[in-house]
């Protein structure tokens, strides 16, 4: 049975407390290093902060999930193992992992702690998901954002674990966990260093007419007119010229956020166990607004009422939202 748990972002201790107080069933967070995919400057938790956060969350009945969802470079696994040992010692409720070696270490060393398979593992077929369940005891899979709801329903019938889907936030899907675009320009790896478009390589330049260009490692990746809404400075959401187009266009993806608030009943019906809100890099204001909005919506649906959903478009990237592949594979 779908419990429709609300899994909420917690980039820092104050955001974690905000998410817990706003009604999160679980929060997910990471350490201040490359072991997680939001290794941003000034973000994340020290072990001492995580210890206090676990106590705070558990006192209010909220679970804490620790993201160890990057890939260790070959032969350099110590950081991930130490993070797993620390998380287990602090009493976190589950690890979110992508790498098989990390999954295997935790399954062998901390078998009492649940394993969730990160979206970074890009496991979207029943065969792939079953492999992780059978070999590492994975209890939940976070599905890539490439499946329709009927496909999710079919996958659910063929796997022995829970399903978690993103319902709100950044909509950067590519082949998750495999994207190397940042590496080409900056030399840093999204999947191993945990940072896409590192802030140290990002620069915004504004012309006298109000036009703003965003640059990564000296390369212009987008240019916004004076009244045009902006997006994140990621290569996948940049505008480029190409031989077959005379104008610059979004060649890969567009600056737009996922918002599945209207599809929650169908997702529950499809057997989705948990709903994930993206945004550990966002503010307490975002966490408070989005978590409380979805808390009310999920509670309404559970009580048999139609969901009273707040308008969240002001918090979306480019102030645009989509239901993406969940609605149709022809969303672009």
């Amino acid at each position: 049975m779908s419990l429709a748990e609300l899994i909420c972002p917690a980039g820092m201790p104050a955001a974690l407390r905000t998410a817990v107080d706003a009604g999160a069933d679980a929060v997910y967070c990471g350490f201040q290093d490359a072991t997680n995919a939001r290794n941003f400057p000034g973000l994340n938790f020290t072990p001492d902060e995580l210890a206090e956060a676990v106590i705070y969350a558990h006192a209010k009945g909220t679970k804490v999930l620790l993201a160890l969802n990057t890939y260790p470079p070959a032969g350099k696994v110590d950081l991930w193992r130490q993070a797993a040992d620390t998380g287990a010692r602090l009493g976190i409720d589950a690890f979110i992992v992508a790498d098989m070696g990390v999954a295997d270490y935790i399954a062998q060393t901390h078998p009492q702690v649940r394993l969730h398979l990160s979206v970074q593992a890009a496991a979207s077929s029943p065969e792939a998901i079953r492999y992780y369940c059978e070999n590492f005891g994975v209890k939940r899979v976070v599905l890539p954002r490439i499946l329709t709801i009927p496909e999710i329903k079919q996958v659910r019938k063929e796997i022995p674990c829970e399903i978690e889907t993103f319902i709100f936030g950044n909509h950067g899907l590519m082949v998750e966990g495999r994207c190397s675009l940042t590496n080409y320009l900056t030399g840093q790896s999204t999947n191993m260093d945990g940072v896409c478009s590192p802030a140290s390589d990002v620069e915004y330049k504004r012309d006298a007419d109000g036009t703003m260009s965003s640059q990564l490692a000296g390369f212009t990746i987008d240019c916004f007119g004076p009244d045009e809404k902006a997006g994140y400075p990621t290569i996948c959401k940049g505008r480029y010229t190409a031989p077959h187009r005379s104008d610059a266009y979004y060649a890969f993806e567009e600056p737009v956020s996922l918002n599945l608030s209207r599809l929650l009943p169908e997702l529950i019906d499809a057997g989705v166990h948990a709903f994930k809100i993206e945004g550990r890099q966002r503010s307490k204001s975002y966490v408070r607004g989005v978590v409380s909005a979805f808390r009310r919506a999920v509670d309404d649906i559970r009580a048999g009422r139609s969901a009273d959903m707040a308008d969240l478009v002001a918090l979306t990237e480019g102030q645009k939202q989509t239901q993406g592949a969940f609605e149709t594979k022809k969303w672009r």
Partner: protein, 161 residues
């Protein structure tokens, strides 16, 4: 440089110095999140006010002063927007990414410095603005209320009720 821009700077400067030292003393964890950018010069530019604010968040030599725009130091990072938006960003009442998406917030210079400052402020519990007002008792609360009336909140970046 005009007398009109120098006068408000001189008036607010003693208050700014007092406020920033008290805030820094109450929230020492701010500095850890700033990392190497404790020595970065930030220029915070509230577009409706007759001056900008120069911040160097070095715990050993804290600087927070009002400066006429034409006499401002060349900043490592610039943060520009309406006064109330900047105040609410400081208090985590507004989301910085949303304000950036809507183009209400402009940043330039060292982006990592801006991200670290944003994260450092966002991890503070409670309202720095109200904490500041409380330092001055009833007059402080009146001034804050008047500022909020005179410089209305941005509509962009807020969550509809």
């Amino acid at each position: 440089m005009t007398v009109l821009s120098r006068l408000p700077c001189a008036l607010v400067q003693p208050l700014l110095t007092h406020v920033v030292r008290r805030i820094a003393a109450r929230h020492p964890s701010l500095f850890a999140r700033l990392g190497p950018h404790q020595s970065t010069d930030f220029l915070i530019d509230p577009i409706e006010l007759p001056f900008a604010l120069h911040l160097r968040p070095d715990p050993e030599a804290l600087i927070f002063c009002a400066v006429p725009r034409d006499a401002a130091p060349h900043p490592g990072a610039l943060i520009r927007g309406k006064f109330m938006l900047l105040l609410e960003l400081m208090d985590a009442e507004e989301d910085g990414d949303a304000a950036f998406f809507s183009r209400d917030l402009e940043v330039s210079g060292d982006t990592e410095a801006v991200v670290r400052l944003r994260n450092a402020l966002d991890d503070v519990d409670g309202s720095i603005a109200e904490e500041t007002a409380e330092m001055f008792g009833a007059p402080g609360r009146v001034i804050l209320a008047r500022l909020r009336r005179n410089y209305p909140t941005q509509e962009n970046g807020t969550v509809a009720p």
